[in-house]
Symmetry: C2
Subunit: 342 residues, 2 copies
């Protein structure tokens, strides 16, 4: 039963969160809003966090600087955007032929992922919390079908983040174009292909009208994770209650974002197919060539970047064990269900 | 920045949570402890929940009655245990050839799952929160390999919950035996086979020593979810802050439990195989026969149980769409990674 009420002091706090995403991306941007709402509810409205779209407070790709300088207390981003600062950022998000969504969460929560990434992030005054995953993304929209690895030669391919480094090794020309400008570039033929996310997000941008081939899987994004960044000094100034509230609200938003994608992608895929989209698997030879280049890149990075080497060696061991296990009951159950008449 | 501190009254509360599980099952029992710890942290120690193992406050399978009567404020259980009260309980947990772990979470968070189950649970004075998933379970330990569906005839098979109804239709004899007594029954030959969970939990009970064949997939448990039950009246008496804290703490524990299984199963599987366990897939003919009986059972239940019919029709539509979508990029990415030399 309830004992007599006891009062306790919790400060009123107003923080700002800089998202790297536009509001139109309701799935990803929405995760920060879900987080903010939960923090407010749990604190009785005393801890409020205003969420700002990419570009509003600072450039979409300026959020690491913003946190590091203490310009803003919080950010929500895809860490692989920052591989130019250090390739190790990508390991908190997605690397080609990396962990899938569930495996990534397992590495973060119960493996060494969160611990290792927080050690790395300390130099940027960041404390991080996993906050969202899109699941395995699609391989993107192509004006011409990719039939052999030679089709990557000279291919102008809009691709986000770290994956461009493998595309380059395949002879492609990665293009860094904001979401809102992809359609026009693809229509005009300025680029040959573009990847964005998956059916739900892609459909809204209309790519199917200008590029008929929708390849899969997105071998560079098997389970990209989003991170909540908190400025370390701001975080340390919080009460232990508010620290715990941030962690749990991020966990709620983490789970909810994957659920949103899973719930919304099927209907969008059906509509895209009904509108004439050709959904085509990359063949094994193409995947094998990309896999080989990815592993070559990781070996090169391990030789020259000690941060990468430290985190990647743990990541790679975890990935090997996860795939050993998942190939049994998870894969067989899913395979049966996917072929069943439901 | 921080505004001046404002005091607010939040009551000191002590609640009890009745788990259906033994402490030895650290993965599942542990989720309730994780939940309790997070609630305490977020409330500054004012909202404390003592977690009690199955049998301590009430029988393991008495927790629905305990919540309904208000004997206890909270419980953590596998809803399919209660299919004898109404088969609809199983839809919040697992049914043969049902949703996998991620799909189940998507149905709960973003589909109609949580809404429909809460409507159903209202008659038991329960408000529910998803709190944990084991992932796809293994198919269990068999003294003799299952080679055809005829091998199920007369098979005395220890199996938890609702799945027994399909085992019966295959000619098997489901056995309801608590975890701690399975080993002895299997060793003596009182039963022919037993399923428990997966490598991590199964290894601790030593089944591999008395039954060499470890079948997969556990077609009756592709993604069993655990639920947190809260007595409706107790819940309604909470402040909105505490209600939100329960929801987020349950989400944290939900995600963490799946992560624990994913992180711990691989090593246990390797050790079991090293100790001579024969890991064998059920063949397609066996799965097809089980699938047919499961669908027959669901049609029968829809004809006679309106609660089942209402919830299952939504569940089945969601399952169809999920498997349509997952067979593309998720399945292809996973399949490639599982066959790659990592």
């Amino acid at each position: 039963g309830a004992a007599p009420a006891i009062v306790q002091a919790q400060a009123n706090i107003r923080w700002r969160l800089a998202s790297s995403f536009p509001k139109a991306l309701d799935t990803i941007y929405g995760a920060a809003e879900t987080f903010s709402k939960k923090v407010s509810e749990m604190s009785g409205g005393k801890f409020t966090i205003s969420v700002h779209a990419g570009g509003e407070l600072m450039p979409a790709f300026g959020v690491v600087d913003g946190i590091q300088n203490g310009t803003v207390e919080m950010a929500h981003t895809a860490p692989y955007y920052f591989f130019g600062k250090d390739e190790t950022f990508a390991l908190a998000c997605a690397i080609p032929f990396g962990l899938n969504s569930r495996q990534m969460t397992a590495w973060m929560y119960e493996g060494n992922g969160l611990k290792l990434m927080r050690e790395f992030y300390a130099q940027y005054n960041i404390i991080s919390f996993p906050m969202g995953n899109t699941g395995a993304q699609m391989g993107g929209w192509f004006r011409k079908e990719i039939k052999t690895v030679a089709d990557y030669k000279g291919l102008k391919f809009r691709v986000g983040g770290f994956a461009g480094k493998v595309i380059e090794r395949l002879g492609g020309v990665p293009q860094n174009i904001p979401g809102g400008e992809i359609y026009q570039a693809l229509e005009k033929g300025t680029i040959d292909a573009a990847e964005w996310v998956g059916p739900y997000d892609d459909q809204k941008l209309g790519f199917n009208k200008v590029a008929p081939f929708y390849h899969y899987p997105g071998w560079w994004e098997g389970g990209p994770q989003l991170d909540l960044y908190v400025n370390t000094k701001a975080y340390e100034g919080l009460s232990s209650e508010y620290k715990a509230i941030i962690e749990a609200a991020a966990a709620y938003a983490h789970t909810d974002m994957q659920a949103k994608y899973d719930a919304r992608n099927p209907e969008a895929l059906k509509q895209l197919v009904a509108a004439g989209t050709k959904v085509v698997a990359f063949n094994k030879a193409v995947l094998d060539a990309a896999f080989k280049e990815a592993m070559g890149l990781y070996a090169d990075l391990s030789a020259k970047n000690p941060n990468w080497k430290k985190v990647y060696s743990d990541y790679a061991n975890f990935r090997r064990d996860q795939n050993l296990w998942f190939r049994f009951t998870e894969a067989q159950f899913d395979r049966y269900m996917q072929s069943a008449k439901l």
